[in-house]
Amino acid sequence: MSTSSGPNAGSVLIIDLTRGKVVKREVSSETVKRYLGGRGFNSKALFDMVPGRIDPLSPENVLALGNGTFAGTVLPMTSRLHISTLSPLSGILGDGNAGGEFSAMLKFAGYEQIIVTGRAEKPKYVFIEDDEVEIRDAEELWGLTTGETVDWLRDEHGDEVSVAGIGPAGENLVRFATTMVDKYHSGARGSGAVWGSKNLKAIAVIGTKGVEPADPERFYEMAKEDIDYFNRNEFVKRIYSVIGTHYGLIQWYPSWKYFQAPLSAEELPVGLRPQDLAEYEVGRTQCFSCPLACKDVYYLPSTGEYGTSSEFESIYALGSNNCIIDTEAILRMEHMADEYGMDVMTLGDTIALARLLHEKGILSGEELEGLSLEWGDAEGQIQLIEMTAYRKGFGDKLAEGYRNFAKLYGDEALAYCYDVKGVNRGWYEVDFINGIFTLSHATSTRGADHLRGRSWAYWENDKLMDIEAVKRMLEAGLPDYRKDPVGALIYGERACTLADSLGRCKGSINSWLQAVPLVWKYPVFKGTAMLLTAFTGIEFTEKDVIDATDRIYLTEMAFNVKQGIKKKHYDVKFPPEFAATERAKAQVRRHWELVDEYLERRGCDVETAYPRRETLEELGIGYVADQIEEKEFPEWDGPVREVA
């Protein structure tokens, strides 16, 4: 019955695979106040440890796993594991978070963060049981799927272990392989290949300690209010806990045929409606400490397998964007991607791009060796997914991932590649939602992305969940996107940085109400400040919270500066046919105006897009400026490759 207390119970575990050494380091109150936890800790570690322009698959790269500040506590939805690295997909910061129980277990074992460096000579896994940490042989595990890996580790260490690790895609250095937690929770595309390059198959953890807030009563009272809020919310009860992110199929316009037509609710074909997916559902599940249960558990009659979390993203990317409407086939593909450990969005979008290039004659039929790239061919796609995970035949090219794949076919192909900084997220007109979509993709510190601030900027789902709460947030100073899109986006980015650092889920409802604890009662970041104070015993004001998120965001921008990111990489991409029009040209001009305003308000140099020294010094991180002023960084053009 050992309990721990203090500002943040755990320590940092540094695992050097080259030397086979493990070191533990304490976390100071100062670090917690400045970087909060999770993403904040990870981004700082990456900036401090990873040099500019290295091959992400070389031993010099660092893999950071951070549980958020509130992991393991009763504050709901706060046990997401944040995973960060220099991404082999993009060559810039690659981070993301995964659910499951790993982050809570890690906290119960007494750790805040794991940092993995170097490369083991032979396959290894790490086993953690409270204070004991061991690097063990994983030769028997190499080659197993993520599900088999978890089963193997449960057999070896007992059912309580929680596992983060990779499947065959990570081992085969597929550039968008992910870290998989407890079989089904996927996070941080690209990170899987980094595990693979380090010869690290998995980390299994059992934690049996407790977590004790500095002011237990105060913390518990507030956390319980937050649970009650979700337990009583009609939207959550009647929609969210029933169909999870499938509600996006009705609300979020899933794209059809490689981003050629977004589908409205009326246009949604049979097979892709929430009720069609529900036919495969046998139950619902969630991550540790979450009252929402956004995840379906599905059963596939044709293969006899169970899977979970067929999210909106997998359905649009593997399904509608490839014109596939066979429900069970889509679920099967989703399950395959989980078992191999691959990101569904880059997988689906890269295959859809291949189909388009084939249709346009840019990709010839020869290399396909009889494979079909017809729109809507589900069986063919199942084959392609397997070939990608094992880098077989044409799959070897798909495994390079979106922009790297397009580059293999030259400028003609790149013209159809709608990436920002190497990452795919479709294309949108600048005028759409007052410039927010395109701007948010451009300013995201991990490349084009929907979970870096965008939906928060225009209260996408908050409006449906609790309109009164939105009004209270506006009164408390949240910028209104209709008048001030740039200000609204910066606030959205802060909300997401905060959630990722606290370990709080933001990915399912994409809303303020979910991402920022108690925002409905103490807007905008006051509730978070109160919770942080009660939990850590360190005094936090709302300004401290905002400053921490800005410190983290600018550190990430600076990390990307070291990887060669320049202002030109904040661009917006259109399909060539549209790009040639006057309408598009006017929109591009508007986009750059918004980018300039954004850089100015973020305290960056408008010419170079580098964070300004004064801004960094004001946030107490002048050392970041020293490093980015030190030398010229060669311009980014995708990930560096040391070895051919």
Binding site: M1, F108, V211, R238, I250, L277, A278, T285, Y299
Partner: protein
């Protein structure tokens, strides 16, 4: 008489009840200090709550060599730690594994939180309810009936139940969307 009843079918395995229980009794979030234990296998959607059923004729009470266990006014079997000698007989005798122990410490079990069960207060899915016994029995019957419809028992093929629930969710969503169009913020 009020009873604490669990409805296995409703439990999604979020562990909030365990965190709340350990906090209420020890001021700390610690799964091993919770009087209720959630065993989960998320991939096949089985979560089972292991907890004290406050039996009519309780094995723990019977085997205790120093009569440290007795029933309080809420019907909860309570361990009197002034008498308890820490032998763990009660834990071994409980047919449900509902009593936890550590060798150095005293056994712990559910005390119904003096009539205000914290686990039931936080459970998001009505998987733990604390209600008048007849009402609880009725709730249980309803949940079991839904479970049968859900295809939880006897075969893996799914049924119309999730589809219907999804259809209702979509309908409600469209309603909300329409309403939100009129809202001017």
């Amino acid at each position: 008489m009020f009873v604490l009843a669990v409805i296995y079918e409703n439990c999604t395995g979020c562990h909030l009840c365990e965190l709340a229980c350990s906090f209420k009794h020890h001021g700390v979030f610690d799964l091993s200090l919770s009087r209720i234990t959630i065993l989960t296998k998320p991939e096949v959607q089985t979560s089972v709550q292991v907890y004290c059923l406050q039996c009519q004729d309780a094995a723990c009470e019977r085997v205790c060599p120093v009569d440290a266990i007795s029933r309080d006014k809420n019907g909860a079997y309570i361990i009197n730690y002034d008498r308890c000698i820490g032998c763990r007989e009660c834990a071994y005798a409980c047919p449900f594994g509902a009593i936890s122990f550590e060798v150095e410490a005293r056994p712990i079990k559910c005390d119904l939180c003096e009539g205000e069960p914290e686990c039931a207060a936080v459970c998001p899915h009505d998987a733990i309810v604390y209600m008048e016994e007849k009402k609880a029995a009725r709730e249980l019957k309803k949940a079991k009936a839904a479970g049968v419809a859900y295809g939880l028992y006897g075969g893996k093929e799914t049924s119309e139940h999730p589809r219907k629930k999804a259809e209702e969710a979509v309908e409600y969503l469209l309603e909300l969307v329409e309403k939100s169009g009129e809202l001017d913020i």
